[in-house]
Symmetry: C2
Subunit: 334 residues, 2 copies
DNA sequence: ATGAAAGCGCTAACAT
DNA sequence: ATGTTAGCGCTTTCAT
């Protein structure tokens, strides 16, 4: 276990002043090339590494950005948010500190907050697993909301453009000639679902097709809070009608899994008898379903990046709402 | 944007010495109750928050543990590792710093390392997505390996007990009366798969059943590095034999998805005509398959915790290998 | 191009 | 029970 030397110790060994060493370490050009080389050699030999603590203290800036992930991080989505933010922080020479918090246990959030205060975090990103409204009061430290928005717009925020995602995907569907798409949406309690339903409907209007009756909620919650999908109840009903759907649009990839199963059970071949499309939360599922599921990928990585850039560049407390578009990933189901 | 006061400023307002304030902040009991109350009141009124930077500098300890996540964090498994470590750090008053690195881009790992040095991290956890062997030389900062082990055992490590997982699951299968289980394993390049195959076989031996010919590799990699499962090729062959399998054990939940599909296609009802069991990587899949998939859950959360505890409590560089057992999650497929 | 001095906020060590 | 002093490692400011 080796003790990391200080600039003073390097200065002593090199026979120069502390300040000159500091200049070299910080890449200040006003040092004679020869002196610089000597110092660099010795520093590296002594395995010098600057002390962030001392730097923070003296310069009064921490280069730390906090990331509060609210709700248990289990979904792939949240990881993409984190990765995007992490990479952006990294690019800008900032250090991101991650905390999993549970909004419902206030003690937990409070501890995270005091940690971030102790590190003098310059900004905080508050991210939720689902696109939702939250209530975050104004704070001393600027906050950026990620995948959520404040009820009173007190903070800048970065959101998936769910309306546009649905609008674009539906337009693509109609452009390819499908005429009777049905949207199996997630719970309408959900902001994303609400926006997507509107995007779906509006894209229909643009093509002179009334899709307002082609939207169904295909998920319920059982007593113990578990999610249940209803594809196997809804689809047989739909296909019993005279005008059968030609495409099933699923609110989530995992719902698509159920839709595939239900369609198979009904003797329908996905991609041939009926097309399926979805919104992408879980790449591995979309990839492994057969035929591969064509999905509108949510821009979580990019959202994470944007949030971090806002956090770094906009010290103001209020700010813009950024909506990020998705990217369509074509596979074989549609 | 409020400037956080220092202990000195509080001392001035209260009319006491700096050190007394320090005592109160740090919960030192040797302060008159009355003085303590006054200081606490003022501190809270001034919104005092201790400076971690100053603390680190003076006390020469950082309370920071680094977490290097090698390979892109996409799998649910990695998040559980991170959550476990995070929670343990938290409980012990440590701060965890997370970095995603890509082993193949050395620049990236180097940057993470210098960051951790700058923060004077007390230990580093190096975690991989897959259970594998790695080569990590001895370092100045103690390393704990998580989900991987050093080729020369130079570091303590925490691993899933894949052998035991398979042994226990297989024993359970045989105890319940199944006599012809088949193990559709992942690639044998994989350490976990290798160990599980042995556990499967040995559990068979314990029951006087030879399972050594009941193990098949059910995954290949296509040119572009994508994974392909072979359930639909393997299963029909197996079921064409006179002695049909009575249970399919899958190396991964996502493979089980394919197995369900293949069995359905063959007109076999999972849970009735044939049982299915699996090793759990992706809870949502296991939960949503119908019937629900019974899986041996990998102990990622617990592994993360253990690794963090090792990192905190064992400053030595070398150390033990900890193998963590899984927990069986019963659903309806077996 | 180089250096000296001060001080960031805190705590360890040692008084009183 | 409380206070004084010194110094952690660095950067800022001001000299030379």
């Amino acid at each position: 276990m080796h003790k990391i030397p200080s600039q003073r110790e390097i200065a002593k060994r090199v026979g120069t002043s502390l300040k000159t060493v500091s200049r070299v370490i910080n890449g200040d050009p006003r040092v004679k090339a020869e002196t610089r080389a000597r110092i660099e050699a010795i520093a590296s030999e002594m395995e010098y590494a600057p002390s962030q603590a001392a730097r923070m203290m003296r310069s009064q800036k921490s280069d730390v950005i906090g990331f509060l992930a609210d709700g248990f991080i289990t979904a792939t989505s949240s990881i993409e948010l984190i990765r995007g933010a992490q990479d952006a922080a990294w690019d800008r020479g900032k250090q991101m500190m991650l905390f999993n918090i549970d909004h419902h246990e206030s003690c937990c959030a409070a501890r995270a907050e005091s940690q971030l205060l102790a590190f003098r975090a310059e900004a905080v990103i508050y991210a939720t697993v689902a696109h939702q409204e939250v209530t975050i009061p104004q704070r001393a430290v600027p906050h950026v909301l990620l995948n959520c928005y404040d009820s009173q717009a007190r903070h800048p925020c970065v959101l998936p453009d769910d309306y546009q995602l649905a609008f674009d995907l539906t337009s693509m569907i109609l452009d390819r000639g499908y005429r009777r798409p049905v949207f199996l949406n997630l719970s309408a309690r959900n902001v994303a679902s609400f926006l997507r339903a509107r995007g779906f409907r509006d894209a229909g209007s643009t093509h002179d097709i009334d899709l307002s009756t082609s939207i169904q909620t295909a998920v319920t919650f059982d007593e113990d809070g578990g999610t249940r999908f209803l594809a196997d109840q809804i689809l047989p009903r739909l296909f019993a009608q005279s005008a059968r759907p030609d495409l099933i649009l699923c609110g989530q990839d995992i719902l698509a899994m159920d839709v595939y199963a239900a369609l198979n059970q009904m003797g329908l071949a996905v991609g041939e008898d009926v097309a399926v499309a979805s919104f992408d939360n879980q790449a591995p599922i979309a990839h492994l379903l057969r035929p591969g599921l064509s999905t509108m990928q949510l821009p979580y990585y990019e959202m994470g990046r944007q949030a971090m850039l806002l956090a770094i560049d906009r010290p103001e407390t209020v700010g813009p709402t950024i909506r990020v578009k998705g990217e369509f990933v074509a596979r074989a189901s549609f």
